[in-house]
Symmetry: C2
DNA sequence: CCTTGACTTCGAGTGCGCTCGAAGTCGTAC
DNA sequence: GTACGACTTCGAGCGCACTCGAAGTCAAGG
């Protein structure tokens, strides 16, 4: 069970280029994430010191990509990864972190829906001014959205 | 109809501090937006050279805030504002810009929904590992999301 | 043996969107 | 008159998340 050959030949081991292709994250960013302490597990190395990503690493990258895409900061992901790295005993804490994030994402979703509605409203406003011949005043200003805008 | 007094006393005129309070955008940022050419209309000034925001300015700020919140860049908003400033004749172009943004926002919304589902999936995974007493192995790894993750 | 190319590390650079601070000007209150 | 506070301009600074580049290593192919 030679570790090196095992690592080199094991299917389910990917080069950094492969990992980048699979995850859609650039090789630069993959290295950066690792440096920043975002990886859950230490990424294995071939004898050549080249990184060998395993499936779990890929999944992890895909998951933290989702966290990033929903606005979680690198700092926060680092914290989460650190907890995950330190093994059992902090599951409740990790869960809490995720649940807090979930709430932020849900709020995000609601906000964006509101913004979308306002944008659609404005689009309709433009539409009503263009198609038929009525190129008089442009009272573009008040893009009054479907819902109240101010607190 | 003294312009100065008219501007000073007109209700519907707000100081930059008022505008900041109303829009939730900081005074620094309001000035920055103006410098960056994001304002549709030239913001009026009192004799003291203090800015006097009118309702339309407020509405505009609120709208571009929505554009910002949905990921439109300052550069793009500048372009849009420039078109709006240059008066009639480019409504179709403005409409197109907004519609393109709308599509991006809709895509954003779908993406976030997917991310949220994956996060919820992971949360459920944690939940199943915590409440009852079963603190054995932690096979946290594969946060297999409800939908396929890779293209 | 030598080239090629895919990787390595590490520090520096970039772009974005603010955010701040210094120095100055007003207008009102005491 | 002078102190105060709210504003003004302008340039510089900051934090974040990458992104890049230089210089080096290594394995395989010709």
């Amino acid at each position: 069970m030679n570790a090196v050959t095992a690592i080199e030949t094991d299917p389910g081991d990917y080069s950094i280029a492969d990992a980048a292709a699979i995850t859609g994250v650039s090789v630069h960013t993959l290295r950066y994430y690792e440096r920043a302490g975002l990886m859950r597990d230490r990424v294995r190395r071939a004898a050549s010191s080249h990184r060998r990503y395993r499936d779990v690493d890929i999944y992890w990258v895909q998951f933290i990509t989702r966290l990033r895409s929903t606005g979680m900061s690198i700092r926060q992901i680092h914290k989460y990864a650190e907890m995950a790295r330190s093994g059992e005993g902090n599951e409740a804490e990790r869960l809490e972190l995720l649940e807090q994030h979930r709430e932020r994402v849900e709020a995000q979703l609601r906000d964006i829906e509101g913004h979308l509605a306002a944008i659609n409203f404005k689009i309709d406003l433009y539409r009503s001014r263009i198609p038929e011949d009525s190129p008089q005043q442009h009272s573009d200003h008040s893009a009054a959205p479907p819902e109240r805008m101010n607190p």
